[in-house]
């Protein structure tokens, strides 16, 4: 797990040379999303800021972006600005944004099929659990299918793990039919 973290740090270092510690600077952004929907929303915001940011304005990214977005992403920029993790110049800020978009795109995704519509709290907790197990920030791609009755189906990097009540019901019924014959 440590080795993986080290490799991710080095990867991020290759992506950006403008930020001293990109892993730390990107952390608030990756921590604020836990599923694919959240990632797509953030990606849209970042691309909008990256496209519209540098039009004769000076200052921090949150200051520049405030004019054309009210998204909560501004708070995240403010956090890294306070921590002194944001690059000072226009060019470096642009590069920082581009690297952040690329970095988030590389996050692994776990597809999870549930029998119910989960709450955000549950998804966040589940996302954290999965990220801990995988050893790196992992996004959830949630699909709701009532036919599985209960439990979940996980798909990760081509592997599938199915533990559903539907499957258990089938098993029980098959055993009872075989037993009756």
């Amino acid at each position: 797990m440590i080795q993986e973290k080290v490799s991710r740090v080095s990867k991020a270092s290759q992506v950006s040379s403008v930020t001293a510690n990109p892993e730390i600077a990107f952390k608030p952004f990756e921590n604020s999303i836990y599923d694919l929907r959240g990632y797509l929303r953030m990606n849209d915001d970042l691309e909008l800021i990256e496209r519209s940011l540098f039009r004769g304005k000076e200052g921090t990214i949150s200051f520049k972006a405030r004019d054309f977005t009210t998204s909560s992403i501004i708070n995240l920029f403010e956090d890294i600005e306070k921590a002194g993790l944001e690059p000072p110049t226009d060019q470096k800020q642009k590069k920082f944004l581009q690297d952040l978009i690329v970095y988030l795109k590389t996050l692994p995704i776990l597809k999870i099929t549930l029998a119910f519509s989960p709450t955000n709290t549950f998804l966040e907790r589940l996302g954290n659990q999965v990220s801990t197990i995988v050893g790196t920030k992992t996004l959830l791609d949630v699909v709701v299918d009532e036919f599985i009755v209960g439990g979940a189906i996980f798909e990760f990097k081509g592997k599938i793990s199915k533990h559903t009540l539907d499957e258990e019901l089938e098993g029980v019924l098959a055993r009872s039919v075989v037993g009756s014959q």
Binding site: E146, V149, A152, F154, K159, I160, S161, H163
Partner: protein
Amino acid sequence: MDLPNLNQNLVNVISLGVSLLTFVLVLALLYKNSKNYSNEEKFLAADNHFREHLSKKIEELAVSTISEITSDSSDRVEKEVEKFIRELSDLSSAKGREIAAFVQKSEQEQVKESQFFVANMLSKAEKEVEEYKKNKLGKVDTQIREIVISAAREVIGRAISLSEHEDLVNKALEKAKKDQIFT
């Protein structure tokens, strides 16, 4: 009398003479021919008589010869016919026996074939019935299972609370971890 008239008369006399002479010659020839004709007639009559006599003789001879020949032939033919009928009768009785044997053999073969066919059909029908029964039972089993699962889905799905769902997902995550899909 003048000279031209004289010549004319002379020519007339000469021509008359020639005519008379010709007439006499013709008469002579006619006489001679009439004589020849009567001889020929006699000869022809004798010839006819001879021919008739000869024909009669030939006819009598032919009749007697033919009657002799036919008499011999009819005896021989009768014998031949009798012999032929006898042979034919023997042959037909032998053939009749052969046919009877063949028919009997065919009947036996047909009976055997029929029995074999019926046995086959019966066996095939039994198999088909068994297969049909199996298929139908299989379909009924599947339908029952689908109904039960559908009912169970409905009932269990409604009965499970949100916290129980979350708990089931957490348990599934633990099992997935054991399945090592995250490594």
